[in-house]
Amino acid sequence: MTDKPSLSFSCPVPHSNSERIEIAHGGGGLRTQRLIDTVFRPAFGQSENDLTHDGAVLEVSGAKLAFTADSYVVDPLFFPGGDIGTLAVNGTVNDLAMCGARPVGLSTAFIIEEGFPMSELQRIVQSMRTAADAADVRLVTGDTKVVERGKGDGLYLTTSGMGLVVASKPVSPERVRPGDVIVLSGDVGRHGMAVMAAREGLGLEPPIASDCAPLAAQILRLIDEGIDIHCLRDLTRGGLATALIEIAHTASVTMRIADSTVPISAPVRGACEILGIDPLYVANEGRFVALVPAQAGQRTLDLLRGYDDNAAIIGTVEMVDEPGSLTLETLGGVRALDLLTGEQLPRIC
């Protein structure tokens, strides 16, 4: 009989609250929320809804203008399906579309590191022109700065966009109602897996391509067809789950989606399985969710299927409740989906 080991309970002291910015603050999850709530909103915002939605709507002499800003720090700069330039143009076009606006003009500011190859800059700028043409928007103004070698990670882009709101009623979380149907525009997880695979050199064949694309056409079509869209959100970092959780929190509603209804392409599924990544939280750059009244659900789905066969109704808004939550119907039961605390990392375990 061996001696019983003397057992003790040992755990680390918890991390103290951050005094410095950490990578997680840029992840789009809980830490980003905290940063907005504790640093930015007190200084800039007036209400809960400022600063959290994709863009702002300003009334100027009777016209409703949508205004948005975004920065792009993607690594690597070039990936299958796009580059930092395509991301920047489409990302801003999409933020405007999510306000129910037709994009009118974009500005881009370049922060370029000394020594950055001119040929790569040209490639990126050309991508931006191509993306802008495809999205029917113009790049009208911008700025350029160069920082010393070692201080810039190659290239950072900041874009701002302006659009004309064409939705007759506001499109924002306040309009979400119990009974609303959640319609997803296509399959999820491509962009995040494309970038992760490229950055980490995962050697996937064929390389997964980003879904980076403009979404204005689909949105304008829904508006044209008279769909009373309550809320729109494009899925970016943090994926489908994060987008819905944010709406649920802002609108103080509970939402439920079903695991089995979320479309995921075979390569993304394969990549997520081998790395142990949850596709519901993987970034997208060409997908959105629309929350529409129940009676408009089928029509919305039919219209979106005209652009992407994989569009699907994935769930419903259940009821008004503080603080708002998202639940997932699984094979065996139901579980809550929470914001991630940091970027998802491949697992061994």
Partner: protein, 365 residues
């Protein structure tokens, strides 16, 4: 996906859950000892399908969670040495030791890189002859062969800039330590299917006999887990004590001979610290004398590996299965994935983190 989808059929799963309910006449406590199984159970809601009275406990099966904090600190101190590239699996990056995590070390300028396989670390050593590449070798018996092969290839190629910080752990000694504790209430075990793919399951027979506990080697898909639980309950209800293999498509009694041979050549068994539990004899792996040149602690002398300190979190009891995450007063309040107190909350595979992400606040009405 073949060999995955067939074992995720929802209708079959519901029928299996009914079958479990039919054979269950009494409460039973079953432990699984694999972070991957914990993850799958909670992800698919398997525990929500079981009859009340079947208690599924999550033992210390997450290699990331049980890595001693002193080893993490050692990894950080090695990573901070000039010229070193420290390679680690992704889920190890955010786990705090006593002095922060590898991720925060990277934030301070250490060259810490995430790898999917030990062979990726080896490739980095080949591509960077002027740098010292150190691989943080954690994991159970499933992973040890992969580390062993990296060492064997490094030896074959005469690489002098590749070394390992070894913290591999073994399952059966942990099971024995758990079952030897008179306070433990475990009546049946689901053994980790992928570990047994490598080791086989002959070692489990003496454990089953000694403690009178049925052991079912179980896979990872919903139908595997349900079938494993079903077989375990059948044994308990019928008073049998056997080692049964549910994961027959991948597990043979003798395991994978070439993988075991590689591990035996490169590693030897030694005593090991388990975070939140303490020292368990003969439960870890160290490099054999022939392979000591590949030991990062030998290559970087002066790297301290400090013993575990004492705090008040109950992760040790959770890992031993005597308490559940929701029993902890700090669960989801003072202790969250963002501010973890213990290993079980730190890693996304830890029982507390899994519970936090997947179960709170929904308890069935």
């Amino acid at each position: 996906m073949k060999y995955v989808d067939e074992f995720r059929d929802p209708a079959a799963a519901r029928h299996y859950a009914d079958a479990i309910a039919r054979v269950t006449t009494r409460p039973w406590t079953i432990m699984e000892i694999c972070g991957g199984q914990t993850h799958a159970i909670v992800r698919h809601g398997i525990d929500q399908m079981l009859p009340d009275g079947i208690l599924l406990l999550h033992g210390p099966g997450c290699p990331v969670c049980v890595t001693p904090s002193g080893m993490i600190d050692a990894a950080i101190s090695i990573a901070e040495r000039p010229g070193v590239i420290l390679c680690t699996f992704g889920d190890m990056l955010r786990v705090p030791g006593g002095q922060g995590s590898l991720l925060s070390a990277r934030g301070r300028g250490a060259d810490v890189r995430m790898v999917y396989s030990p062979l990726d670390a080896l490739a980095l050593a080949q591509e960077n002859p002027a740098r010292e590449v150190v691989f943080f070798a954690i994991g159970f018996e499933t992973t040890a062969p992969t580390t062993a092969m990296a060492v064997l290839q490094a030896e074959r190629e005469g690489l002098s800039n590749f070394s390992l910080l070894v913290s591999h752990v073994l399952v059966p000694p942990a099971m024995e330590a758990l079952l030897s504790d008179p306070a433990n209430g475990v009546q049946g075990f689901l053994a980790a299917g992928h570990v047994c793919t490598v080791t086989g399951y002959r070692e489990y027979e003496p454990i089953a006999r000694r403690f009178g506990i049925p052991v079912v080697i179980t896979g990872f898909e919903p139908l595997d887990l349900l079938q494993g639980i079903y077989l375990c309950i059948r044994q308990l209800e019928e008073g049998r004590v056997e080692v049964e293999n549910q994961y027959r498509r991948l597990v043979r009694p003798e395991g994978n001979a070439s993988a075991c041979a590689a591990v035996d050549r490169v590693f030897r068994v030694r005593s090991q610290q388990w975070r939140g539990i303490g020292e368990i004899e003969a439960s870890g792996l160290g490099l054999t004398p022939d392979y000591e040149p590949f030991d990062a602690l030998v290559r970087f002398p002066g790297t301290a590996v400090l013993p575990e300190g004492q705090t008040s979190c109950i992760s040790g009891e959770i890992l031993r299965g005597v308490r559940k995450p929701c029993d902890c007063p700090a669960f989801a309040t003072g202790c969250t994935p963002e501010h973890p107190l213990g290993a079980t909350m730190v890693s996304s595979e830890g029982a507390c983190a899994a519970y936090y992400r997947y179960r709170r606040p929904l308890e069935p009405a």
